[in-house]
Structure formats: C-alpha cells, structure tokens
Amino acid sequence: MLFDNTDFDYEISFLKIPGSDFNKEIRDSKFLSPEEGFLRGNLMKDEYVPYKNLTYFKLTPQNEQETLLLKLMAYSFTINDLNLYLDLNPKDQQTYELFKKYVKEKNRLEEMYSEKYGPMTITETQGSNYNWIMDPWPWDNTGGSMYV
C-alpha cells in the first residue's frame, strides 16, 4: 500500500545490516538507504519530488526467495543511481567507496540467488543443467518479480 514518506522506519528496514552503524551512516549521507531509494525510485535525499499526495509503495516480500530478489533489486537500483552520479563526480572518493560496498553486497546476493533459484545472467553456471531458459522470465505474470 502507499504510505507517506514520513512513515519510513529504518529500524524495520529489510536491508538493515544488524550490528552495523548503517542507520547513522545513512542519516549522515546525501544518499538514502538502498531500500528507501529503491522504493522511491530516487536515491538522492534532496532530489525527491512526490506527485500530489502520492509517495511510493511499501513492498512486502512473502518468503525467502521474494526477500532475496527484492534485496537484489534494491542493491542493483542503488548501484545504478550511484553509477549516474559518479559519471559526473568521478573524483568523489567517499561515494566511490560506498559504491564498491554496495557492489560487493549485490554480488554476494546475486550468487546466493542464482545458486538457489537459477541464473540472473548467462554466465552464472552453478547448476548442472542449462537453466538460463527456465521460466519465469521477468515479464511473466506467474513468477519472476511477481513475488514482490
């Protein structure tokens, strides 16, 4: 359901890294957390412009696969938005360090996902069979990103 952007609770964020200073890090940064940035479609704290009173959806994963896929999509989104920012600010070392941290986490999640549920890219070949062709494809309504 749609919720107000003042409702966001970092403590229950599904991407919260336990025991880390993640929340403080995010508060001090010009970028949002991967989860909130992803849900908003905009990682930049000061660039978000909601339409009318509509903000964004809160997505609730129902099982392990959904949770993993949603995290993976959130990190992938975050990497993309930082990518665009870094194209124009390549000397921003602090942001590049953050970028590398998220890339590492995305790679870890992607490996975990493809081992359990099939490849995300053609070169992920952990399974014994050629399962790249396996349904669901992302546009299918019976699987893929339907889970979240």
């Binding site: 964004y56 992938s76 053609i122 893929g144």
Partner: protein
C-alpha cells in the same frame, strides 16, 4: 556490448486486467515521450559527446531506459494477457489486435507506430542535452497523466517509480549541460 539481467528494474505484478489502461500505457513504449525514444536518443547521441562525463552518462542512461521499455511492455502484457477478443474490441483495441494480435508493438496510445523522428541528433552537445532535459520533463508529465487515468495501486506504484527516474535523469542531464556550458561549448 550489452548483457541481460533476468529481473526487472522494479517489480511488476498486476493482478487486475485493464485493457484501456494498457492502451494508454503503450505510449510510454512507442510514443513521442516514451522510453524507446529516450533510450535510442541517448544511445545515438553518445557518439558525439566530447569527454568522459558525457560519454558515460549518455551511455548509462540509455541502458537504463531500455530496462524501462521492458517494464512498460511487461505492464501492457500483464494488463491484456487474459483478455477475450470481445473485451479487446470493447476497449477500443480491436484494430490493435487485428494488426498485432496480443504482441506488444511500439506505438503511441492512438496506435501510431514508433518513429525515430521523435528525437534528434545534432552533434552539438548543448542542443542535444537541452533536448534530453526536455524529453525527461515530457516523460514525467506523461507519467503524471497516466497516474491520473487509473486507481489500480499495482499500476500507480510502478508509474511513480518511473516518474521519479525522469526527475533524476533530468537533474543529471542538467548538471552535464551546465558543466559543458561552463567549459565554453
């Protein structure tokens, strides 16, 4: 070179069939302010960008926009998948079905086929980037019109995400424009 990643940019799971909305949405694939025009525009313009910043930014946004084409087509596909011919006719999609079946053909909401005349490539960095900024604003406005056309939250959530991307892209293009302007282009 391009590599495919087997997930969407943002999750799409539309439960309710809505043929009229599918007809309207199609314009964000093959219409004047749509994602295909955006992707091809930046892809084509990247070759005359004068330095690393311009080359990388246009290339990277062009790539992202191709992912947005996939999202729009996914929405149209899911909104029409289980429609009967009678339902398609009633929703004004009879001609579309005659020409394309249930395939997703790049066209606007009137059925006009996609054309490259929707965008320009001038080889002039300021002219091209001004167009890119305008294109992002027009796409944002179209997303807002589309949001006003439905009350299905499954659809609205996705449109809000895509609308926000237009805002981000506009800001990046504007920064690049200002940077080149300052450099004396």
């Amino acid at each position: 070179m391009f590599k495919y990643v087997k997930h969407l940019n943002y999750p799409i799971n539309i439960k309710k069939k809505d043929l009229k909305m599918a007809k309207y949405l199609l314009t964000q694939f093959g219409g004047a302010n749509g994602e295909l025009a955006a992707s091809l525009r930046y892809f084509s313009q990247k070759f005359s960008m004068p330095d690393e910043k311009g080359k990388s930014l246009l290339n990277d946004i062009a790539t992202e926009e191709l992912g947005h084409c996939e999202m729009i087509c996914t929405m149209v596909h899911q909104l029409t998948e289980n429609a009967t011919i009678e339902e398609l006719k009633a929703a004004g999609l009879g001609s579309m079905y005659t020409e394309h079946g249930k395939g997703i053909y790049p066209s606007d909401s009137f059925g006009n086929p996609f054309t490259v005349t929707y965008f320009a490539v001038t080889g002039d960095v300021l002219a091209d980037l001004s167009e890119d900024m305008a294109a992002e604003q027009k796409a944002r406005a179209t997303y807002e019109n589309l949001i006003n056309m439905t009350d299905d939250q499954d659809v609205i959530g996705i449109l809000l995400f895509l609308r926000q991307r237009e805002i981000v892209h506009f800001n990046r293009f504007k920064e690049l424009y200002d940077y080149y302007k300052k450099k004396g282009y």
